[in-house]
Amino acid sequence: MRIVDTKGHLCPAPLIAAKKALKETAGGESFILLTDNQTSFDNLSRFLKDNKADFQVSESESIWTLTITKTIGEVVLTNPEDYCAPSITHFEKGNYVVVISSDKMGEGDEELGHLLMANFIKALKDLDELPSKMVFYNNGVKLATKSSPVIEHLRDLEKMGVELMLCATCISHYSLESVVGAGTVSNMYTITEVMASAGNIIKP
């Protein structure tokens, strides 16, 4: 497979290389793109999504390897549900951040742990003051996947203005790139920054 190496280059050079390679690649074919810069990686991910290219990511020692596949034909972009969902406007947000580091709440029976976590996330929606952000890492990111039992609640929270931040390393560790159903993938620096500047942190 063709390898496009953009290591050592900063934006927009990696984007230009990606766009050029996409143009030269036939539909259904793939190529590999390498970058060693977090911002370049974030921007590439965004750019590829907007340009309807499929990609898988693996990271090791601060080098991101993107396997990019040019999609065939027109992709249906819009999700009809997004248009039908009633828009929820104006909710008060408090100066606190909810940190979800597991898909269970508390120690003990596993089934009970899952149930409690689902109830916790559901209950968040009813609070007078919503969290400003929710951070998901380790097993916590699994809650934000399409098949998660709480995905609808998380999408509601997102519509209510709560920012959901998912740990990028965790998503790729559990190979969940293609099944993320809510939130934005974020890096550890931003997550640390958010936690450090939060008024309070709530960890169920």
Binding site: P12, A13, L15, I16, A18, K19, K20, N43, F47, T78
Partner: protein, 346 residues
């Protein structure tokens, strides 16, 4: 020795601004001073602060400085000064005094570069009628330059982000694309002509545009700089409590900036701006991706964007064009507040 300032920086001009999202997070925790004489503060996301001295006079205060946007020190000085002074024009004020703000790597660059940057700033300030009466320099790498500017304004004639009225048309006085052109230039993708055009526009004072605004008693305006066209219109929409409809195909672009974006030349600052603003923006389902991304391109010393009653638009455009702002155009209009603050159409 030929001096090339661009060798020293990764992102120059207003692209070097901190992310608007991070800035907003920090400013939340900083209390605003309370004083009845403060007429404009950051609460309305405005370009400059305004402080009332008496019933006939208020002061406009602003500062801006950034790393090099071009290779030549003299041109860099001119552009940085034009950009710093612009905020006073955007508020409808008359710039009067300024101080130099300079960071210069004395061990890495010959002192003639230092002198040339200051000379460029001095000449541009003089063109604006501004007296530079002092300044401050640090030994720092890479170089950075700009001005802190004071202007005069009548307290009853302040033009702010908050003055846009539903039904008004939006007029932009300079084409956009400086961020893309400068990034493309560093990668050898921009012709000399296009680069020269971008530099001409960045050096162009917003003085003439501001004179036309004042002639027509415009109340809502901003200048387009680091947060890009979309970012600054968003600040306007929020401050004025209106929604703004922007027709991207009407927005004049510098040189080959559309083609550059199509080739993937999208500076990092555009993604930062997109990240900050997108939740308040409705993107038309058929919106051209390249036009979408150029709406977030960080501008250095960009033009004025102001709102005008539709029945005066033709006269205003005529005046702007005869004042030398030949690319001035209506790029959209304001409506009553809708679900989103900004609607980006083709």
């Amino acid at each position: 020795m030929k001096i090339d300032l661009l060798q020293m920086v990764e992102s120059g001009g207003c692209s070097a601004k901190i992310s608007p999202k991070q800035l907003e997070e920090i400013l939340k925790y900083l209390p605003l001073p309370k004083d009845p004489n403060i007429l404009v503060d950051i609460d309305t996301h405005d370009d400059a602060g305004v402080y009332k001295v008496n019933d006939d006079l208020a002061l406009v205060l602003t500062t801006d400085f950034f790393p090099p946007v071009c290779s030549d020190p003299y041109e860099f000085g001119q552009i940085a000064a034009a950009n710093s002074i612009s905020d006073v024009y955007a508020m409808g004020g008359d710039p009067v005094l300024a101080l130099n703000i300079m960071m210069f790597p004395a061990a890495k660059l010959p002192m003639e570069a230092y002198a040339d940057i200051l000379k460029g700033g001095f000449d541009k300030a003089s063109e604006a009628g501004v007296r530079i009466i002092g300044g401050h320099t640090l030994d720092d790498y890479p170089p950075k330059y700009g001005l802190a500017v004071v202007g005069y304004i009548h307290p009853g004639k302040i033009i702010t982000n908050a003055g846009v009225i539903p039904g008004d048309s939006l007029i932009l006085t300079k084409p956009i694309g400086t961020g893309v052109i400068l990034a493309g230039h560093r990668l050898g993708m921009v012709s000399d002509d296009n680069l020269a055009e971008a530099k001409r526009l960045m050096k162009l004072l917003n003085k003439t545009g501001a004179e036309v605004m004042k002639r027509y008693n415009i109340r809502g305006a901003t200048d387009i700089t680091g947060f890009g066209l979309a970012g600054h219109t968003l600040k306007m929409a929020k401050a004025s409590k209106v929604s703004l409809i922007i027709n991207m195909k009407e927005v004049p672009l510098i040189g080959n900036s559309y083609q550059l974006i199509d080739d993937g030349c999208i500076p990092g600052a555009s993604f930062r701006n997109l990240d900050y603003a997108e939740k308040d923006i409705d993107f038309a389902s058929d919106l051209d991706y390249n036009l979408k991304m150029i709406a977030f391109d960080a501008q250095t010393s960009g033009g004025l964007l102001f709102s005008a009653p539709s029945d005066k638009v033709n006269k205003i455009l005529e005046d702007l064009r005869s004042a030398g702002l030949s690319d001035s155009k209506v790029i959209g209009y304001a409506t009553e507040p809708k679900e989103k603050c900004i609607y980006l159409n083709n």
